[in-house]
Subunit: 243 residues, 4 copies
């Protein structure tokens, strides 16, 4: 690798550590969620922490994997059993460079009832108009609920389809995007939208955004300036300074 390549990888790992901490601070991930990023120099590889809670992840915890979930470097510590969620999505979605898997509490009710999570306010437009639910029972029957094999990952990726979010029944969700900043925005927007639909439904039917509004607002929010402004704020809230 050139020294420029080294710098690219170094920046990628720094951003991934920060994304872990942001997601913990914003109550997106708990003890068991995770976030990954595709290697910007080699699309057949991705970076992900070893088996550790995102709120305490540091640079030394980041591992590199092939898309089949094989660890590239030698490190005796355990990886996440659910890393196959990430690998399968990177295989099936060339447009995706960052993935979160989490159990944000406001989202969980929507995994077990038939109520639409479609965006009801502009900042949630980034989650997209369509969100499907994957049920592990359909193909795999009773399991320990983990997506810990490649075939389960691909099954989930099929339910995800071309969308930005998919729900896992009785478990949580996955969010995908072109970049770490975008996948964090989508994860937070999903959490907030879920909470708002809960609040609004007690009053009656929710008026969701139109298809045109979702397309135009999400395009604007996922552009460079809004992502940079929000990232700057999340970084400060997560307690980092001088970055």
């Amino acid at each position: 690798m050139t020294s420029r390549d080294d710098a690219v990888i170094d920046d990628t790992i720094t951003s991934l550590v920060i994304a872990n901490r942001i997601l913990a601070r914003e109550d997106i991930v708990d003890d068991f969620g995770h976030v990954s990023v595709r290697n910007p120099l080699n699309p057949e590889r991705y970076f992900l922490s070893r088996s550790r809670s995102p709120g305490v992840v540091t640079r030394g915890d980041i591992m590199e994997f092939t898309l089949d979930g094989e660890q590239v470097t030698s490190d005796p510590r355990r990886p996440y059993a659910e890393r196959h969620i990430h690998g399968a999505i990177y295989k099936d979605r060339a447009d995706v460079n960052a993935v979160t898997h989490h159990h944000a509490r406001s989202v969980l009710p929507f995994t077990v009832v038939d109520v639409s999570l479609r965006p009801m306010f502009h900042m949630a437009s980034v989650i997209g108009a369509t969100i499907e639910t994957w049920d592990s029972q359909d193909e795999f029957g009773d399991t320990n609920m983990l997506v810990d094999r490649m075939d389960m990952g691909h099954s989930l990726a099929r339910t995800l389809g071309p969308n930005r979010v998919a729900l896992l029944r009785g478990h949580g969700c996955v969010c995908v995007a072109e970049s770490l900043k975008a996948v964090v925005m989508i994860s937070i927007g999903l959490k907030d939208n879920a909470s708002l639909i809960q609040q609004t439904r007690q009053f009656g039917e929710v008026r969701y955004l139109s298809d045109g509004e979702i397309a135009m607002a999400s395009k604007m929010l996922l552009s460079e300036m809004p992502l940079a402004r929000a990232w700057d704020n999340w970084v400060a809230r997560a307690g980092f300074s001088g970055l």
Copy 2:
């Protein structure tokens, strides 16, 4: 400018920075809300941060604008696209010297359902008896949901009318007042009242304050002593000391 004028502007900018931080601490603004103040020496101008989240705004971020949204000083950094909300309201409401635009989560349900946000307790009387909702669809059809042109700002200002608060469908709200302290109190009162109406509606119909109570309680709360007492507390909660 005289040195006394310098001190007035200096104090105004300090107060605006503090208001940004208070609104972030009190969960009124998120990554994308903002607060402005009219130039006390030139009513055709207002101050507003550059495009930055309120929680991290500092003195160096404050810009000055004409009411048409033209930047007065040279600064290559980007302003908020939605600054026209502020300019249009200052143009149309000579009595208004401070404006917030935000998406406090408890308020959002009221932007998409037909339930009154009228005050139900004395501290919320400051939001006023009447709150209308502006829907960008009515005049502008599908948009990216931002109020980023002067004609949209004036359209919103017409919906605001003579009131202190207006809602934006699927987006958020604007709050206006004679001073920064007052607009912060109104913003917090609105957030709390929205949350309380949500809590109360599950029990049945809400008994709102009477017109007389709203008028008398809001006049009392928006007077010098209550505003000073509350500001003193918000400043402490936002982590400032020795101000």
Copy 3:
């Protein structure tokens, strides 16, 4: 005064400052709530902060008042307009030595609907079996909602009767007890019970504690050991150490 008397007053003022900070930390009081204590050496006097938010009250802010609300010592700073709540209750209830007036958000819905706030769990037994609501409209018509005259204070005290808590319609509540520790426990128990009844009512009718359980559990909780244990914890949560 003897030096022992000085120490008693000094301890009383220290406890009152701590109670202010605890109530702010526990989200009982906001910018405008307050807490007072009767002078242990002179039952015709009580201590209360000057007009300041409880979260920032210090020893220098504490004032002494006659039961009619006259300031005993000379201090040019403004007292709370609502100090008459405290004086009227101390006049009418010789058994009461500490009073809070606050607007804890979970309590407010119960001031405008007809749902019982009777205790549903043991720690809330301290609020007592009966809670009445005072409506300023009944005797005073439209007002600015403040209880800022002695006749209004006595009217409220009549609604309170022999109970530990009374609600104020569209405004908040008062809690009374034999000591500062007890009135803090009652204030927190009220807030928690109100929140729990809100949570429970969505499932159906609430099963409240029996009269016997309320009497026996409250007697136990308001005894020396439980009050000391809880106070020790509240003090730590409020950030004090070494007290």
Copy 4:
């Protein structure tokens, strides 16, 4: 005792102090909850703090008791009146090595209504498929609501049966497990599951996990790696470092 035995006891007490602090940080225990651990060297004894709130417990507060609740060491300070909950369960359940008794607010509604607390998401599988409610009225009539005698403890243990959780009507719950780490995970899972069922019920019927999913997911989560990962995160959240 050998020096190895000393180290085992020392580690046990350290873990118990940390468990106290974690449970306070995660809003499981309030002023009056508690957590105990069986003596790993003598199954007829258990460790528990003196009468102190878990958020402020230190090593010096830990006492040792016989299963009948007699204090083993001489210490003039008061033990918890409700220690008999722990002793009775250790007597009746040889498989249990750690017990929490708490009043997590989200759980309390389920103690007074007939709605199932069965797990609805994988992380809550650890609470088990069956949760019964103990009502002190059934055997003991009106009481001060405390479980402060061995016969009451055994009555509660009978309701608990072979399960991991039992509710106490109008009071709270007990959680039991093989280890401190496991009982903390069960306590947090119970709190989260209760909150989620509240959120979900407003939309309609809850789809709970299947019996097979509960068995398989709980076996996985209560194994060494997941417990270690979660404990590492709870310790960091509770403010400990370098442990």
